[in-house]
């Protein structure tokens, strides 16, 4: 799994590439949790899912776990550029109740209030 993490203002932008399942979940969790622990100024989390072509419930578990941490920081979570099959799984699991969807980074940053 390709994992790229950068900070933009008060948002952490995590770009993933590959298939997000049980085999790759642990590494994503670790990397993102470490970045969140290091950056106490970060309130929001943007998942750039453009290059994720598969996700199942183990992958959703990764997103949900990180959502709980962001919630504790009173921040927002955005799913950016999710491709159709991935977006379908996210919706089916009701993830639109806890995260927003965006098609561009600007849109994502605007949705979290530009902060």
């Amino acid at each position: 799994m390709d994992i790229e993490i950068r900070r933009k203002g008060r948002a952490l932008i995590v770009s993933l590439g590959g298939e997000l399942d049980l085999a790759t979940a642990a590494e994503v969790k670790e990397r993102v949790d470490a970045a969140l622990a290091e950056n106490s100024k970060v309130h929001h989390l943007i998942w750039d899912l453009e290059n994720v072509d598969f996700i199942d419930s183990s992958g959703l578990g990764v997103l949900l776990g990180r959502y709980k941490q962001i919630q504790a920081r009173a921040g927002k979570v955005v799913a950016l550029k999710a491709v159709d099959p991935v977006r379908r799984v996210l919706r089916m699991a009701g993830m639109e109740r806890i995260m927003q969807f965006a098609d561009t980074e600007e849109q994502a940053l605007a949705q979290i209030g530009g902060r």
Binding site: F54, D56, S57, L64, R88, V89, M92
Partner: protein, 146 residues
């Protein structure tokens, strides 16, 4: 009359790395029927959940064998995912959304996805003996490739 057109049996150890292999191989085999891309994605998710469950819950840390069998008839695909692990105490409960015996780690959505994405799901499980998921899916649109 239903005739078995093709079949494949795959056996592999319960490693997380094999989940991706299993779902992609099954989708590859399934593409002999005229499934849409969406349907192939659904099959992939169902297989991914079933094999992940065998790895996490069935064998829980220990290594065991997982068998995935695909049977293809003229108008449907049957998939069986079998482990010889710990088994499920209460299958009805296991099927409930959000029920999981690993609340720290899991969402309890795996079997919900399997049921949602496949036309049929039957679970045969016995504590201490193992679990077998039998799933059926038919293409909505068409017949077998010539």
């Amino acid at each position: 009359m239903e005739t078995v057109e093709n079949k494949v049996v795959m056996r592999f150890p319960s490693k997380a790395a094999n989940i991706g292999f299993a779902r992609t191989a099954v989708a590859l085999f399934a593409s002999q029927l005229e499934f849409t891309l969406d349907e192939l994605d659904e099959i992939k998710i169902a297989v991914s959940e079933a094999v992940s469950n065998a790895v996490i819950h069935g064998y829980k840390g220990t290594e065991g064998e997982i068998t995935v069998t695909c049977r293809l008839t003229n108008d449907r695909l049957e998939i069986t995912v079998k482990d010889e692990g710990r088994g499920i105490a209460d299958v009805e409960q296991a099927l409930e959304p959000a029920f999981t015996t690993e609340p720290e780690e899991r969402m309890g959505l795996g079997l919900v996805f399997v049921r949602e994405y496949m036309d049929k799901l039957e679970i045969d499980s016995e504590p201490g003996r193992g679990t077998s998921l039998f799933m059926i899916k038919s293409p909505t649109q068409a017949r077998v490739h010539s």
